[in-house]
Symmetry: D3
Subunit: 252 residues, 6 copies
């Protein structure tokens, strides 16, 4: 039996508190089980040097954990003087995933930085960050739209992410920390509202995995992400309709 | 008139949420007006190299702000690759202040790290961190006592901190960000439950200040800290009695 | 038509020069098209601190590109003073992949470091590094076996890696730099000699991808990796038989 | 009895050697007892980026100790690759203190950097640096005046600094290293020629201190600083009169 | 007897493979005995900030060793986060030496970066780098000439370098690693095609050396460099004639 | 005519003030013309890790310039966060040179660190550092001898250093900054009391130099160093006799 009595196909309870930080253009506190992440979206009216003069915007992300988000205190990367490989990998993933659903031309020459700060960690911090950051970004972009700074709404589709894994012989959805540390195969999946893949990162460090296992894991992920996007949609309210409108227009 | 209609002698509303982070030995979310800080206390059964073999414990602190705690996003120190002078100055202050009320011999050869992470900033982040960190530390030490790891309760007295300043010609208690940026004189005061000073840091960058102004500011700070310690005491409940008991015993 | 006239299902010409660097315990120069990587394996009779006293070995990797491996000179990371996110991501991937086919208990408390230095880059540098590093590692482990330092041969299976992608609407095997920079979907796949997956990293930054595309890409990768492992086997000669023997024993 | 037979109210012998370094626009060697600091003032015809275009100048400071300024050799911060917290705190203090007596508009868009390098340390290095840096700065500004680059003399008042502390139960002026390491309370005070406070930094790390102790310490500091400013005035000669003239004009 | 049976006056076998890296403007693989270095020349149409606007070009060098170029693996400087003193010293030497034979005015406002990456080390890596980098630079400059970007050929003379040393009492030419580690005196000499000195760096760490020893070492170096320049000339073909032509014109 | 009217064969006025810094085991202020360097010698009863257990001592050096030692202020390396190539090169040279006259076995398992801090620079800072550091080291070693910690005096010979160069067509001894910046050839020479060479570093960046020029420069250097060693001998008094005694014994 899993903690909290959930089945192998079930997500942990998920809660998104909108507008959690008053200074940010968009922000949420997202909780998935005991994993809690503050996601803020910052809009700046400039783009990084490598994007200048192309008439396009940029979306990027930064990720960090408070030292005591984890069971054992981990040293601050600011104190160590450099970002670790895991942090870099995660923030590259979050940025890449979010860009996949944003029309950078429609955003115009401005940048959005998503800061994902894990205040409490219990597995799935990178996938939770993506799911939360999407909502924070949508709030920030909606503010741009409200301020009449956009000629076209630049979000093409919803985006959410979940982890799946094989524990023993059993595929499971949304692993917590305990499960994750015993998983034979571990996979993070990012999908759109239309059920397309944006990222698949599957690793069989303890043992390689078969095509059949891969198929089962992808199916589980699809169900979980569908549920998550419904919750995002509830929190976003009328903004969700705009996103659906863009997608509808784009695929006509 | 001050924001929220408070008088020059009045603190902002203050709220301490205990046990905010599940993994830490002690933790609070402290809110003073719109300033919000997560304070966690981590106990480790070892001391830094320079303290080894002295039969004494150590208390230290780290301080950070989330990038979007402020009105304009500030770059992460982890990304810059080094801690700024302001951060170092603040975390040295917090550690020093907390050590002043802890009996390091009674703590035994273990260390307590207080992590103060500002998730939203509106002035007084260093003083709020001290006030919150004291409570987180008391929870963690109480856990040590409950686990029968201490022969003597090592906290001697309460500790809280507030900022005061001169705006125009008027001394004011507990400046918010807006007030702080216009203050002619800015002072942070740390005091004990018995009304003794632990730290006074007063700066007249825009203009030097007189002895009379100093006296008025210290009086304001004393009132504010008294109120804060009452609130700490309420949150700590029976732990507060133990602290008072230690102090009573120590001064007999 | 693809450069060199190859079909969408075809690998570039691949060549592995064994024992390329005289000081290393194992080494190869691997060339896949115009991508050239020197892979060396270093054996050290100690493990990293976090592995000590577990009676197990460790396998890790480092990756770098010479400044002029690329069309435009890229600044050395040593000169910048830190490793970039891309480098960290790649060297974590290489190490993780290689560990998946090594029996760390059988290796004993020693470590193998695979250095993958790209001297000329034309797409697929990370997958080529994995394919070459496997051979360098096998030479180094064989040396340990010859020196009677192992009671059991610790390599469980072959391991190779290839990139696949969607250019326009067409899935293609083994992208060169030019193709990679126009790919809509980009995927790196690591597989064993038995056709199991070790890593799948698929990204649809320009556009999300469907389940059907995923299936086609995985099928292409499987074919390519099969060919690469035949080439590894030729170069390794009798060592290849030992690897097959271990696998056979392990799966009986 | 104190070393050298001085009373609790007495400064150590103080000597200021003007024009100590030939290349600098202003420089002194200041000796307070066995503490020796080289202070140089560098004028540059530009301001830091955050000050650009405001028509104002900037004054900043850097502080360092030679490795063998102390009884035990301390490692160079250049070799460690970063500035320590103590160094940052001190150089921020020196810069802030000096700015308090400079009219930045009158200085014009140029910057003055005060380098305070401790060649021999025996307590009070930060306060000695402030007292010496003021004189070096005055020489440098006088050179600007002589070169007709200023329409108005920009130094408003004298500035000096001293440490005070409580040893046992006794307040003492100008602690040397030995006394400082036994002080229960340690306070650094920066004051102007008119006897106003610029900085008060008091710390009771070993034990908190009372209002009465604070008052006694401030009175001691005032006396010491008065004497120091007389000595600065002697060294500056006619430049001292210009400073007094500015102050007189400003307060009329 | 020396390894390979050579006499004290003999160089190791030397081989220069031109155009070794396809992306670089000029490149060679140079082998001197078992020392192997990839030298690439990169031309960029800009100069460093300190050279701007002078109508002159710049030549600079970077030097590195692959981790397993040596008998024992050495840690990457990129992983350590900084360049070591030995690396800096060597790359400053290479750059300085090459600039001595280039007419920077004739080069025009562009820069040439020579990357010398040692893939296998057996003594004399810095001297081999200089000898190889000269050829890579000549190829790159010839490409500029072919592209009609130069009004005048900017290389004044040939340049090569060799190490010499005293082993026991005997002066020897071109030390390998084994010899170098037993040398009492170690000297690196850089000379031009006309037999003038560009750099002499002689060190008697184990014991000082006499004027007579110095004279013998310089004579040996001269012979070795003469042979090396003949080999450079063979590899460069018609470009060698242009270099000789420039020298001839310059000295008329 | 040279500044100060000296001839091409003449040194600048040189002055060595012994025991300049009270905490150090040995120290001097050395002045050669307007170049002024504080040299301190620190003895520690341990050796670096790579020297442990060999029964031998170690001598090393660090070099730095105060920011305003030069005509234009140079940024602190501590602020930049890393040592520059020039600094590393110089401190390696100083340490190597000093080790050449120390019997490391006789020193015993302890280390001597020479800190050379240039407080005012006017050419020849590295050679002046060597000449001064030798005297500081001799004082520190004499203190060890006086404390009966040595069974044998470990300094074999005197050591001093000077720069020479070709200005126009003329070889000159002991270049100041102005001369150095116009020198066609620049050479630093380190020699012993017996007139043997320890280091020769000659560079012809602007133009290569002939054998004849080399000979003239070495002759000039020899004269200058002879004079410097006389001055060292005067300052060291009876310690000089011990050094001469060791040399005499060693060469019998």
């Amino acid at each position: 039996m899993r903690i909290g009595g959930r089945t192998n196909q079930e997500l942990r309870p998920m809660k998104i508190t909108p507008h959690y930080i008053k200074h940010a253009e968009g922000s949420v506190l997202i909780e998935v089980g005991d994993t809690k992440v503050i996601c803020t979206a910052t809009i700046e009216e400039r783009v990084p040097p490598f994007m200048k003069g192309q008439g396009k915007g940029w979306v990027t992300a930064e990720y960090s954990m408070l030292p005591r988000a984890t069971q054992v205190r981990n040293q601050r990367e600011a104190a160590k003087g450099k970002l670790g490989g895991r942090t870099m990998e995660i923030q590259r993933l979050i940025g890449r995933a979010l860009r996949s659903v944003v029309n950078l031309e429609a955003l115009g020459e401005r940048s959005i930085t998503l800061d994902c700060d894990v205040i409490q960690a219990d597995g799935g911090t990178r996938t939770t960050s993506i799911t939360g950051a999407f909502v924070a970004m949508a709030f920030a972009i909606d503010k741009l739209a409200t301020d009449k700074k956009l000629s076209k709404f630049p979000i093409n589709d919803f985006l959410a992410s979940v982890s799946v894994g094989v524990i023993g012989q059993t595929p499971r959805l949304d692993l917590n920390y305990e499960e994750d540390s015993h998983a034979k195969v571990d996979m993070n999946v990012v999908m759109t509202g239309q059920g397309q893949f944006v990222e698949i990162q599957g690793t069989g460090e303890d043992a390689p995995f078969s095509r059949k296992e891969l198929d089962e894991l992808l199916a589980l992920a699809e169900t979980g992400i569908h549920t998550m996007i419904e919750e995002q949609s509830n929190v976003l309210g009328p903004i969700a309709d705009r996103i659906r409108g863009v997608h509808h227009a784009a695929t006509k």
